[in-house]
Symmetry: C2
Subunit: 148 residues, 2 copies
């Protein structure tokens, strides 16, 4: 039996790594713990910062390398925020998009259902299967559009 309190799918990461001939290390454990608490999105830099809180000896390159591995395992996916900066989407968050108002600066999630409407529009005309979560859609929210 495993002694960790991590929720799925994080609880089996160690075995998943070993099954691929990769290794389970204290540094990776730290990254996993932080990710497990961070449902939503984190930038690389944020993640490094939070790991440092838990283990001050955390080194950035190790975190980034771990993220690469986890992305290969499908446990995180990278996307881009409104400013284009890389951010990591942490599972098991439901597939969703992001809206960002360039005027007021607020952001919203675009839930599965509404995201599907966008996806449908692209699929219908181009056969293009959008990865809705990959980039943050930028524009103006209802209120700002009304006030302009």
């Amino acid at each position: 039996m495993r002694m960790t309190a991590l929720p799925p799918p994080w609880d089996s990461v160690d075995d998943r790594l070993r099954a691929r001939g990769l290794r389970w290390t204290p540094q990776r454990a730290t990254v996993i713990e932080v990710l497990a608490e961070a449902d939503g999105h984190v930038s690389g830099a944020e993640l490094v910062e939070r790991c440092r809180l838990r283990d001050p000896s955390t080194i950035p390159s190790t975190v980034y390398r771990t993220l690469d591995v986890l992305e290969e395992l499908g446990l995180v996916r990278h996307g881009h925020g409104p400013d284009g900066r890389e951010e990591f989407h942490v599972r098991p968050v439901e597939e969703h998009g992001h809206l960002h108002c360039a005027e007021c600066g607020n952001s919203w999630e675009l839930g599965n259902e509404r995201a599907a409407a966008v996806a449908d529009a692209l699929r219908a005309t181009d056969g293009f299967e959008i990865d809705i979560g990959h980039v943050t859609l930028v524009g103006r929210c209802r209120d700002c559009a009304a006030g302009a």
Copy 2:
């Protein structure tokens, strides 16, 4: 009468700048010339490079500062490519979006009409007015989706 061969709206940039109390300089002329030939998108670095071809003494900071001014004038707009990197959209390109296939790496333009379908989908559900040109939409193209 003006001696330049620049197409609108570039032909009147000098006056537009002066009208705002700003100045028309040789360095800015170089940037404008390069932009006028670059309908579509350019990254800052690309622009610097192309300016250097025309004038080897081009300095990056001058180019970036000029881009800021031109964005205020509404002559360029910045957006983000599939990798999140900043790119400048050069007018008078028709408002359009960009699709990028993460699998084969190809990119396509999303013309006005089809972009409108996406915009409608968002407007209907959220009242959100997307700036379709701001970010490159990432996903899988028809062919790659079919082959998977």
